[in-house]
């Protein structure tokens, strides 16, 4: 069975702590990158992840209104909505890039999202990638 490689950008204040509270086994497919805020996730990071061989990318943020820095998650959401349209131009399906909210207490929700994302990307198959980009 194809095991997708997924890069997860997790906010230090919410989803990273939420992952610590995940008390059941969940798919080991997500490589976690801890960031100080989902608003810190430069869309370049996401493109670089695909270029480096990721089949999917997750950005997990604080719930609306809960951002440690007040607005970072709104900026991350807006970037994600625009990025999905840009990814289409790069031939990447929108299901390969997911944005969602996980609070510090939602261990079960974290497991749910990781499992769903892994299943979704597994069904899509490997990202064919393209090795033409120069400045990686």
């Amino acid at each position: 069975m194809f095991e997708p490689r997924i890069v997860g950008f997790l906010c230090n204040w919410c989803s990273y702590a939420g992952a610590d509270k995940a008390a059941r086994a969940y798919p080991p497919n997500v490589n976690v990158v801890r960031v100080m805020c989902s608003g810190r996730v430069d869309p370049q990071f996401i493109l670089k992840a695909y270029k480096a061989g990721a089949d999917g990318v997750l950005v997990l943020a604080c719930h609306p209104g809960d951002c440690h820095y007040k607005e970072g998650n709104y900026k991350a959401l807006a970037r994600h909505r625009i990025l999905l349209r840009v990814l289409a131009g790069h031939g990447i399906e929108s299901a390969r890039c997911r944005f969602d909210y996980v609070s510090a207490s939602e261990g079960d929700r974290f497991i749910e999202i990781i499992t769903e994302m892994t299943d979704t990307v597994r069904a899509l198959g490997p990202y064919a990638g393209n090795t033409m980009g120069k400045r990686s």
Binding site: D42, L47, R85, H90, I92
Partner: protein, 329 residues
């Protein structure tokens, strides 16, 4: 008298604007002629490929190579000029990062041939004839240079010493570079950028910048923008914020948003992604308190869906050189 160092300029998949930019240095072209033997330039001179082949390796001091790599011929000339040149400079946006020709990477070669040679309303092509690499005729086999599946930048096919951004590079910047070489100034480390600044177009743009809150995006035909205020503040997608300086902010000066021809600023690898970052941070979707997740998405989508062509807007010049290089439709 010792012979002057040779200068050459070649065009691959390009429009010819880069050559115009070179001659637009006006009377300085006499200084170029005084210091260099302008040896090879199919647009302006009569020397042929054979004349270049006859030179020793490294026999040309500088080659300005403009144009992207679309065909086998483009690639062959890139390798030849690399071998014969001491300095190979990717001149202009096409050679540097793909430019307009690279937008074709959004579609397949087969789709291009279909729309150009078969579906084109002004072409009668009932037999469905499209260009082929090899064609058998009674007299023998005819060949055309192969048309590649994708457009590549010069540095994706051969070793490049420097790149000069711009569509085309501004004549003043072109002269700065030639002058630096004539005066024997130390050039930046190999692989660097010549003829651009270290900041963004905003540095050269004299418009008044304020805290940005964009409540609606406009296309250029929809409004006549105020001539003092920042164009991005007014809801026009001005790429200046994600574009290297060096042009003198020419477009914003005449009330047109920057479309990004100088490529990503120093430290940025993907111009389109950087524009996503910038735009995502300044969209104003109003009061967010107590709003559902779906409503947040709806408001953002309403704003961003007014841009019809993301690849063509954010990667108008940089698709081939971008991190992912554009996909196939």
């Amino acid at each position: 008298m010792a012979s002057k160092p040779k200068l050459s300029m070649y065009w691959a998949s390009s429009c010819g604007g880069c050559e115009v930019s070179l001659v637009n240095i006006n009377e300085k072209i006499l200084d170029v002629a005084a210091n260099f033997d302008f040896y090879f330039c199919p647009c302006l001179l009569d020397t042929k490929k054979e004349d270049v082949e006859a030179l020793d390796d490294g026999g040309i001091a500088i080659t300005f190579f403009n144009g992207a790599i679309r065909t086998e011929e483009n690639e062959e000339m890139a390798h030849l000029l690399r071998k014969k040149s001491k300095l190979l400079i990717a001149f202009g946006s096409c050679a540097y990062e793909g430019c307009i020709p690279a937008l074709s990477n959004l579609h397949t070669k087969a789709a291009h041939f279909k729309s150009i040679y078969i579906d084109n309303p002004t072409v009668d092509n009932l037999l469905g004839i499209v260009p082929k690499h090899e064609t058998q005729v009674p007299e023998g086999k005819l060949t055309l240079p192969a048309f590649y599946e994708r457009v590549r930048t010069l540095s994706q096919v051969t070793d490049v010493d420097y790149s000069m951004p711009g569509c085309p590079p501004e004549p003043a910047r072109v002269w700065n570079v030639i002058e630096a070489v004539i005066q024997g100034k130390t050039l930046p480390p190999k692989g660097g950028i010549l003829g651009a600044g270290n900041s963004s177009v905003c540095r050269e743009c004299g418009r008044k910048k304020e805290d940005k809150h964009i409540t609606r995006l406009y296309r250029t035909y929809e409004i006549i923008p105020d001539t003092e205020a920042c164009l991005l503040d007014q809801g026009l997608i001005c790429m200046g914020i994600a574009t290297a300086d060096g042009c003198g902010a020419l477009c914003p000066k005449v009330n047109m948003p920057c479309s990004g021809c100088y490529g990503p600023p120093a430290g940025v690898f993907d111009q389109g992604a950087k524009m996503v970052a910038a735009l995502g941070a300044i969209l104003d979707i109003g009061e967010k308190k107590g709003i559902s997740e779906d409503e947040l998405i709806r408001r953002i989508d309403m704003l961003v869906d007014s841009i019809p062509d993301y690849s063509g807007t954010f990667y108008k010049y940089s698709l081939a050189g971008s991190i992912l290089g554009g996909g196939r439709a």
